[in-house]
Amino acid sequence: MLNNFPLWPEQASTLAAHVDALYIFLLIVTGMMALLVFVLIIFFAARYRHRPGVRAEQIEGSNALEIVWSTIPFLIFMVIFAWGAVVYFKERTPPADATEVYVVAKQWMWKVEHAEGQREINELHVPVGRDVKLIMTSQDVIHSFYIPAFRIKQDVLPGRYTVEWFRATKPGVYHLFCAEYCGTQHSGMVGSIIVQEPAQYEAWMNGGSTGPLSATGEKIFAELGCATCHRTDTQGRGPNLQGVFGKPVQLEDGRTVTADENYLRECILDPGAKRVKGFQPIMPTFQGLVTEEQVNALVAYIKSISLSKPADGARTNAGLAAPDDSDRIDAGAKIQAQAQSNAQPKRSQVQ
């Protein structure tokens, strides 16, 4: 019904229904609050309009009333808060087995790479009914990947991955907007999300691929000579990367972090920042030597040699969804860790 109402955005993902339900609840609740206030104001203004000879009645106030009209709105606010938080958790927690798609944003274009190797520009093909997780980064400034019909939006930052996910529910073509102002052609940084029936999607997927992203990553891994140190036994000068993804890693400085996408990315671009315990700081930085797409491919490759089906994938994904949260370390250690990583400028790159 909602979809036929021209002033309402199309509902095309599982999340959209959750967001709309809360939105309608809020419209009703705030509508009633507004109505109450407006009716009272209009009623008082009319009923107590100035009449010659009738004087205002002075009222000091009422603590009981103040408590009532503080407590009731507060309780209503808490319901909205809790409901909003539940929806937000859904938005920020990609299912463990979601199909992964890498997105690289640049002024003023969206570059998309599917795990199977398909590449697209300003378009994203997805099948109906499958969970899709976008792993996104930017080459330059901050952008934001926004699909109104799916009710999802996530800023895309340079220097790190952010994640968003959705499950499309209806075939069709939907708007993709950049929602964070990014310069001259900001309003031109738009595209289409093309949701297809699985069969159509498979047909599209099978046309013109350059091979899986992880295979591209394996090739880059070999070309850059990564394998000379990161050997598949315990004799390498660098850690063995087999099975590392999604696992806790002991660092030289005593911290423990989870080896998620952001950690792998940081290790490639800034190897000194979070060095694995027991290894020398000999890895050079690859900042500037590899493109964002190549980093994505390398990460995809390392993931592919880790676990065919990560048993603790859900946890990893949650950790990734909140890049600042390595849930293995408590809040205090986390703040300390961040402070340290901020306090240590990426000096290791110079070596």
């Binding site: 206030v37 008082f44 205002a56 000091e60 106030g61 709105p73 606010f77 939006k153 909140a322």
Partner: protein
């Protein structure tokens, strides 16, 4: 001053000619440019912020005209980006933040507490000069190319990508910021040290409480934006790695620093307006304010909690789920004192004797628009909904309802209410009521469609929406509203100017209002009161003012309930 007034230049108006007041005391340019009289400085501010208001308004008009059609046809993309950037910067830093505090606050704080002037009259003058220096730098920046980052200056776009005049605009805001800090400092010291005998804290008009809370924010918040601007300039000019990840910086750090000031800055704009509305509602309901202490302390609560909610601008920026939860919760906490104020204002109307003069019409307008603005804030604080509507027109509509619907309605209401005191003249009441109505209608027509646009998904800062022509109807409505609103804003300027010459001379207390400012002449003498007032009454003693034995308008002695 040696430049005594030439009697020939004295205006022929009898009322102002017979009594010496702050306006007719001296006439030379220097008597204005070197004045330390808070009332004259208030008028200097009035002229300058009006100038910037119409510049900012002109930019807004061009923005709305561009959005009339989906294609980008009126201006170039870069021009449009500069337009909304300069609109935001001018309106926020050079109109809204100084508006009520620097004009009405400057004029009224000493009068309301029974002081001769502010605590530091020369610092007050310096603050106006800093504002002017900042303003001239901003004008120069606009005329020589402008800035295209949006008023939010997000890094690393502002630090390493745009080639517009970031450092100059930043410096202009930096300098104007000190003007704001000094005004806040002056108010805090004045309110603490210069109250007349008997003017205890619980006898202060709520306008003063609101300005006290505002001043705290100005003092504690503004230095942070100054620091942020310095860091942006350092990264831009010296390539120090602070915000750009390519230099080892963190772009989210910028957003944290920026919003740490810029969220409380919203309360710098709205709190004084709440103070104005409180005075108007009391006067035109002929009543003391319901729950005086709750209204007073809610101002302080807003100032304190206002510093703890900044990251609600960043729910999709890449902060962790858990910090988003905390900031969402705190945002509901800061909504509460605002709600308490609205309920107390409404309760004040109960059993009042309500007059519909123009200031009260603005107050009613404020109540309507601020309530809508506040309630839509509940949508944005709800994490799950914010993800969808942040950075869309929903946000644009929301903050215009607060900052224009709220703050500007309060400013205009206050200008009408105190205009007889400021100018010694009455404005034309009929025109003023008409203008209030036009502003209210024009405002809603402009900004209400934007809520719908936002939920439909139209992102803000788009100059070209030819990919989504379905957004056009609502944009046309919005532009139509903006022209109505423009007329509504021009009208008061015209009739205020007209009334300075042709308006009826105002009596000392034309509204029969409570408050020390009404106990001196209109316009007041340079040192406000002929002798220091001694306060023996509560604020809002309308019962006394309206009691028959005081010669007030009402003749019958109606018994008054407690």
């Amino acid at each position: 001053m040696s430049m005594a007034a030439n009697p020939i230049l004295q205006p022929t108006i009898p009322q102002t000619a017979e009594r010496e007041n702050y306006l007719n005391k001296e006439y030379g340019a220097w008597s204005w440019l070197l004045t330390t009289d808070h009332k004259r400085i208030a008028l200097l501010y009035l002229l300058s912020i009006t100038f910037f208001f119409f510049i900012g308004g002109f930019f807004a008009l061009l923005i709305r005209l561009e959005l009339l059609t989906p294609a980008g046809d009126l201006v170039q993309a870069d021009t449009y980006n500069k337009l909304f950037t300069m609109h935001g910067m001018v309106m926020v830093f050079f109109f809204l933040i100084p508006s009520i505090p620097a004009v009405l606050g400057n004029f009224l704080v000493p009068l309301m507490i029974g002081a001769k002037d502010l605590a530091f009259p020369r610092i007050n003058l310096i603050s106006w000069y800093l504002y002017i220096i900042g303003g001239v730098m901003m004008l120069h920046c606009m005329l020589t190319g402008g800035v295209d980052t949006g008023w939010t200056f997000y890094a690393p776009f502002s630090t390493n990508f745009t080639n517009t005049k970031i450092v100059e605009a930043g410096l202009a805001i930096f300098v104007a910021g000190f003007s704001s800090i000094l005004t806040g400092l002056n108010f805090v010291v004045t309110i603490h040290r210069m109250r007349a005998p008997g003017m205890t804290w619980s006898r202060l008009p709520l306008f003063i409480w609101a300005h006290y809370a505002t001043s705290i924010i100005q003092l504690l918040g503004t230095p942070v934006v100054a620091v942020t601007i310095v860091l942006v300039a350092a990264e831009r000019a010296l390539h120090l790695g602070i915000f750009d990840p390519k230099l080892g910086g963190d772009p989210l750090l910028f957003q944290h620093l920026f919003w740490f000031y810029s969220h409380p800055a919203v309360y710098i704009m709205i709190l004084p307006s709440m103070g104005v509305i409180t005075e108007i509602i009391a006067c035109f309901s002929r009543k003391r304010i319901f729950g005086y202490h709750f209204v007073a302390f809610s101002s302080i609560a807003i100032a304190v909690f206002g510093f703890l909610v900044w990251a609600h601008h960043m729910f999709v920026a890449g902060i962790s789920v858990y910090s988003a939860l905390v900031f969402s919760f705190l945002s509901y906490a800061v909504a509460l004192p605002s709600a308490i104020k609205v309920f107390n204002w409404t309760a004040t109307l109960y059993k009042g004797s309500i007059h519909y003069d123009a200031p009260m019409l603005y107050a009613f307008g404020f109540l309507g628009l601020f309530t809508i603005g506040g309630l839509t804030g509940l949508f944005l604080s709800a994490l799950g909904i914010d993800v969808h509507v942040t950075d869309t027109y929903f946000v644009v509509a929301h903050f215009h309802y607060i900052m224009v619907g709220g703050a500007v309605m309060g400013y205009l209401g206050g200008m009408h209410f105190w205009w007889p005191k400021i100018s010694g003249r009455l404005y034309p009441e009929g025109w003023a009521r008409l203008a209030a109505l036009i502003v209210f209608i024009g405002f809603n027509l402009t900004f209400f469609p934007q809520f719908i646009l936002g939920y439909m998904g139209m992102p803000r800062r788009y100059y070209d929406y030819s990919h989504m022509p379905e957004f056009q109807i609502l944009n046309v409505l919005s532009t139509a509203g903006a022209t109505v609103l423009g007329v509504g804003y021009l009208l008061p300027m015209v009739y205020f100017l007209w009334s300075m010459r042709y308006g009826k001379p105002a009596s000392d207390n034309p509204w029969n209002a409570a408050g020390l400012e009404w106990k001196t002449t209109s316009p007041p003498p340079t040192f406000n009161f002929d002798e220091e007032p001694i306060v023996t009454w509560e604020a809002y003693n309308y019962e006394e003012l309206d009691s028959p034995d005081k010669g007030a308008p009402h003749k019958e002695g109606v018994p008054v309930a407690k």
